[in-house]
């Protein structure tokens, strides 16, 4: 698009308003609250990544775990620590910082909710983690009944959820306060996005809260004897798919609000960004059954309805892709990029704040295409529960999301600790991004390929009685171990960089927030009316889930007693 068609109007150097907002520094008390979340997240990252490394080594058939540690025990640790604990703590740390940066310092009450949530989540994490380490909860992070873990494990997870609700409220209250103080104004975009993500999280976690509190905890305590397997699975996946959007949306926050500022550009469209987020809320929850396409007890028509709803996320995904690349092109052209793709070279490739999330965005192209395949109803049979799926979410969560989180950590930690993002951190961060990208290309690529040939996920090393096809899987699993080892080196390097962030020279590091171009149209007020979205969301959930749940309840067989199979 030529610059005369520029949507944002001419982009000059930072406006006076932008310069002023660039200097905003988060209050030290809010910074401390965010930092403690990051510390727990990074500790979980180290332990979870160590478990991941061991898994790839075991699966290659060249290594055996010492001291009676089970493969599935470390697999449970890997899943719980990375998918549930690292993500939730990191996201809350980021969201607290984001709200404090864009709405202003939290009140003591709001911050108090943040601390209460943090401690509850921490206690819950320790409870669940201890049960895994004691081998009392080798049920993987999906904890499907009728495998029965210790009640302390389920209670710990329930506490993590309840703690997250309390912490999320503190963030939402700050946004509500801003809104009251600025009647008629459009709220800060980043904070609006935080509220969207928290709303999604609250509605989604209701499913897993009911699953654990009503069924699994009483069952593991012996208060009830039996649970319905299909019902608990359906409640889990009601939560489980929205969970992936809860991970993804903070990455989108960085892409929409931070990255344009990092490259010196402007936000493409405030209104469309908000609409994209609202669509993600609406189409992330009434879709969980697409994880259950291969199972009995759910009617095909309703599976298909949820498949259709699943595919609607294509719309906000396309909106996002357009906005981001439009921002990049406008900025690249402003910097003198000529021709069809000349602007591409002008982007700040030496800036880790841009480079790490950019590689994350690129990974989302194959990641998204893989997701389309997975959700394609009958096509799901080809890859369901094969290691293709593991390869898929290591592209989406473990590359797209995590590289964006890494890229954000490199400026956010110095901002919070009153230090500066040094040139060395830029260089090491770019090196880290390359190591991650290459390691993941090898590991995830191999997983995708042997998954297509049927290699099952969540499986220890096995020769399957010498079956020919299993031999072809084993040959490729060496590549997974190579990729996994590179990724582990990547984690160590990341943590070294984080150490450098904590010890960098004292100074001021900007929390970059892009502004909308002057003269841009005001975002319509209805976009910010969460009552409308709550009603539509409730309607969609009722449409998608009422009859499947009634079917499951009416059709319910004898429930299952618990089993300990490890």
């Amino acid at each position: 698009m030529s610059s005369s068609e520029s949507i944002n109007g001419p982009i000059n150097n930072a406006s006076v308003a932008q310069k002023k907002t660039d200097q905003v520094k988060i209050h030290p008390r809010d910074a401390l609250l965010a930092l403690v979340h990051f510390l727990v997240a990074f500790l979980a990252l180290l332990l979870g990544a160590t478990a991941g490394l061991l898994q790839t080594l075991v699966r290659s058939g060249t290594f055996q775990l010492p001291a009676n540690i089970g493969y599935y025990q470390i697999l449970t640790l890997h899943g719980v620590l990375l998918a549930l604990i690292f993500t939730t703590f990191f996201i809350f740390g980021f969201q607290i910082a984001g709200v404090s940066r864009t709405c202003g310092t939290l009140s003591d009450k709001q911050r108090g909710l943040g601390w209460a949530g943090f401690y509850l989540m921490l206690i819950g994490t320790i409870m669940a983690g201890a049960m895994i380490l004691l081998n009392e909860a080798t049920v993987l992070y999906t904890f499907y009944a009728p495998l029965k873990a210790h009640w302390v494990f389920y209670t710990g997870l329930a506490l993590v959820v309840v703690g997250s609700w309390i912490g999320a409220l503190g963030q939402v209250f700050r946004w509500i306060q801003w809104r009251k103080e600025h009647k008629g104004e459009t709220t800060p975009l980043l904070s609006f996005m935080v509220v969207c993500n928290n709303m999604l999280w609250f509605v989604a976690t209701l499913g897993v809260a009911i699953e654990t509190v009503v069924f699994l905890i009483p069952w593991s305590l012996g208060i009830i004897d039996r649970v319905d397997v299909a019902l608990t699975r359906t409640l889990f996946w009601y939560f489980g798919h929205a969970l992936v959007y809860f991970w993804l949306l903070p990455a989108y926050m960085v892409w929409y609000t931070v990255v344009p500022r990092v490259i010196g550009g402007r936000m493409f469209s405030d209104g469309l960004a908000r609409i994209a987020f609202v669509l993600f809320i609406l189409y992330s929850i009434p879709v969980g059954v697409h994880h259950q396409l291969m199972e009995p007890g759910i009617n095909g028509f309703w599976k298909f309805v949820q498949v259709v709803l699943t595919f609607f996320v294509i719309i906000p995904s396309f909106l996002t892709a357009f906005s981001l690349f439009a921002t990049f092109e406008l900025r690249g052209r402003e910097l003198g990029g000529k021709g069809l793709l000349g602007w591409f070279k002008k982007l700040p490739w030496g800036d880790v704040r841009f480079f790490a999330p950019f590689i994350g965005m690129v990974s989302f192209i194959p990641g998204g295409i893989g997701g389309v395949i997975n959700a394609s109803y009958q096509m799901n049979a080809v890859i369901h529960n094969t290691i293709w799926v593991t390869g898929h979410f290591h592209l989406t969560i473990a590359t797209t999301v995590i590289l964006t989180f890494f890229g954000a950590s490199y400026w956010l930690i110095p901002h919070l600790t009153g230090r500066r993002l040094t040139k060395q951190i830029h260089q090491l961060g770019i090196m880290q991004t390359w190591i991650w990208a290459i390691g993941m290309l090898i590991m995830s690529g191999t997983m995708h390929i042997i998954g297509l040939f049927g290699s099952p996920r969540r499986s220890n090393f096995s020769e399957y009685g010498g079956a020919e096809i299993a031999q072809t899987w084993i040959a490729s699993e060496i590549a997974q171990a190579v990729g996994g080892s590179l990724l582990f080196i990547g984690i160590l390097l990341f943590l070294i960089i984080i150490g450098k962030c904590f010890t960098a020279p004292i100074g001021f590091e900007e929390f970059p927030i892009a502004e909308v171009a002057p003269g841009a149209q005001k975002t319509p007020a209805w976009v910010e009316n969460f009552k409308i979205w709550a009603v539509i969301l409730a309607a969609l959930i009722l449409i998608a889930y009422t009859i499947p749940i009634i079917d499951i309840l009416n059709n319910s067989p004898l429930g299952s007693v618990g089993y300990r199979m490890w």
Binding site: Y72, Y144, A230, I298, F311, R458, M565
Partner: protein, 162 residues
Amino acid sequence: MHIHKYEKIWLTFGIGSLVVFLGITGVMAFHQGTHPNNSMITVNYEEVDTIAPFNNPGVHKVDGKDWDYEVVVTSSAFFYNPMELVVPVGAKVKFITTSKDVVHGFQITGTNINMMAEPGYVSEYVTTVDQVGEYLIVCNEYCGTGHTQMFSMLKVVEPDEL
């Protein structure tokens, strides 16, 4: 709210491909009947061994049905019963399984047969076995320490070798 011309084109393309894609998937499912396992049949999982058809696991020739063979398999930690299945090439086969304890998978590698086996629920899938060969059946849902010992073999043979 203003939406740029190129963005409109881009979104029209996105939504258009969505409609085409879902249309194809829907026609495949509801017109050509390529549904995955959607069985609504339930069973008392503690009595599976005494309830038909699971009281007689194995390969059975059937008459007067839309399919020629029924393959009945019980799934339990950590094995399938029976361990080996032999069917003639070209036959239309209904695969039927259920779990006697925890959740298992029933995936026949190299085919589109991929079902969850859950206690209390019967899983079914009908397909035509059109290529001679040996197909490894694996449990693809974690079911405990012995999970990867849970496998069996489907042999598709020429009718005269049956």
